[in-house]
Symmetry: C2
Subunit: 252 residues, 2 copies
C-alpha cells in the first residue's frame, strides 16, 4: 500500500495587490520557504498568483521542479466567495489524489494563512478524512498581528468576518458586537475591503459608545503599516480610513 504524502499549509505574504512587495524572508521563515520550494503539487485559489508567489520563493530557495513543471489545481469559484468551511461544502477529496499517490502537496491562499479568513478548510478536512497528514507552516496572519498590536484582550477574542453592507443591518451588527465585547470582555475582530473602509469606520465612530476601544490595522508587515488603537472619543477627533484591506477590533 502506498504511504500517502503530506498536505502542507503554506502561508503567503500580505502584500497581494500592493504596489510594493515585501522581501519574502522578512515575513516567512527559511523553513517555510524551503518546504514551499520543494513542493510541485499545489491547490490554490488562483494558479496565476500562486505561480508568481513561487517565482519569488525560487529567488531565495531554488525550486525542486522548474516553474513550468509545477502543477496547480484551483479551488472552484464559488468557494472563493462563499467560503468552504461548512460540512456541506464541496467535496475536496479528488484534489488530493496526488497525495494519495504518495506525493507531498501544498495548499496556498492569496495572502496569509490558508483556511483562516480564507478558503481551504474543505481541503484540510478532506485530508483528515483520507488519512493525509496536515502540516501547517509558519507565516503572517493579518488577524493575529492586528490583535497583538491592538492592546485589546488576546485572552478571549472572536473573529466574525465581514460586517453587513446595508446601513441598518450594519448598525445593528456593530451594536451587537459592542455589547458582546463590553459584557463578556471578548475582543471582536472583523475585516473590510479597501473601498468600504470609509463607510465602515464612519458607522463605527457614530455607533459605538465614547469609551469603547476601537483598533484599526492595515498593511501590517508592509512599508505603510498602520495600527491605531484608542477610545471612540479619541477616534472622533481624527477619522482617517485606511486605503488597504483592514482589520478592526473592538473591546473594552
Amino acid at each position: 500500500m502506498t504511504v500517502p504524502g503530506k498536505l502542507y499549509l503554506v502561508p503567503a505574504p500580505l502584500d497581494f495587490g500592493c504596489d510594493t512587495q515585501t522581501a519574502l524572508d522578512r515575513v516567512l521563515p527559511a523553513g517555510t520557504l524551503a518546504e514551499a520550494a520543494r513542493l510541485s503539487q499545489w491547490i490554490c485559489e488562483n494558479a496565476r498568483s500562486a505561480r508568481a508567489y513561487l517565482k519569488r520563493v525560487g529567488e531565495l530557495h531554488p525550486l525542486a521542479s522548474p516553474l513550468q513543471g509545477l502543477c496547480f489545481q484551483e479551488l472552484p469559484r464559488e468557494v472563493h466567495k462563499k467560503g468552504d468551511h461548512g460540512p456541506s461544502s464541496f467535496d475536496a477529496r479528488p484534489l488530493l489524489a496526488p497525495a494519495l499517490a504518495g506525493g507531498d502537496m501544498g495548499l496556498l491562499s492569496e495572502a496569509g494563512m490558508p483556511a483562516v479568513a480564507d478558503p481551504g478548510a474543505s481541503v484540510v478536512r478532506a485530508a483528515h478524512e483520507l488519512g493525509i497528514e496536515v502540516v501547517p507552516l509558519v507565516g503572517p496572519v493579518s488577524l493575529l498581528l492586528a490583535l497583538a498590536a491592538s492592546g485589546l484582550s488576546g485572552q478571549s477574542f472572536a473573529f466574525v468576518g465581514y460586517i453587513p453592507q446595508d446601513a441598518d443591518a450594519r448598525t445593528r451588527r456593530i451594536k451587537e458586537l459592542e455589547s458582546l465585547a463590553l459584557r463578556t470582555g471578548q475582543t471582536q475582530i472583523f475585516i473590510e475591503t479597501p473601498y468600504r473602509n470609509a463607510a465602515l469606520l464612519d458607522a463605527l465612530v457614530r455607533t459605538l459608545q465614547h469609551n469603547t476601544r476601537l483598533a484599526v490595522a492595515s498593511g501590517l508587515t508592509l512599508e505603510d503599516a498602520i495600527i491605531r488603537s484608542q477610545t471612540v472619543r479619541q477616534w472622533r477627533q481624527r477619522i482617517q480610513a485606511p486605503e488597504l484591506p483592514a482589520v478592526y477590533a473592538i473591546g473594552r
Copy 2:
C-alpha cells in the same frame, strides 16, 4: 523633543520546556530574527528564558549588544497568572521609559506571540497611550496553526482560553461551547496544560454529541507534532491525550 522609539512584538518558538528545540529559522523569518538581534531593551515574562532565547537568536544573527549588556524588565507576577488584558490592569507605562527616551524596545512572551493567549496587552495599550509605535513581527502562533490545520471554520471562530477544572462546571462549559459552535458555526478554540489534557479530552468525548467535530493539536512546528480532527464518534474509538500543551477546537 525626543522622537520615541518603537515597541516590537517579538514572537518566540513553541518549544518552551520541550526536550528538543526547534531550529529558530524554521519558525521565525530572517526579518524577525534581525530585528530581535538589534534590540537591547526588553520587556518579558521571565528574564532568564528571554536571555536564553536571545542567545539562540545570536547564533543566527549577531546581537548588536553582547548578552550581558541586554536589559530585561519582567512583567509583574500577578500578570502571568491573571493576564493583563483588562482596562483596570496594572499600569505598564513606566516599563516603556526607554522607548520614550528614544530607544526601540522588544516585548517577548515565553512562547508564540506576545499578547495573544499570553500577557503583554497592557504594555501594548500603554504604548498606544504614549504615542509609541507598535510593530508586530511574524512568528508562530499555536492557536492559528491549530485552527488552520483543523479543517474547521476559519471564517468565524473564537478563542475562549481555558475550560474550568471542576467537573460539573467543565461539563456545563463544554455543552455551552458546543451549542454555540453548532448553532452559529463559530469554531470554539481553547487550550489546556499537559497534565490536564487527559481529563479534558475524556470530558469532551463523554459530553459532546456524536457528530460534533473535535480537533486536538499539540507540538505544532515541533518534531512530535500531533493534529487529529474528526467526529466525536471517531474519537471514541481511540482516545489518546497529548503530552504537550494542546489546542482544542470544536465545530460542525
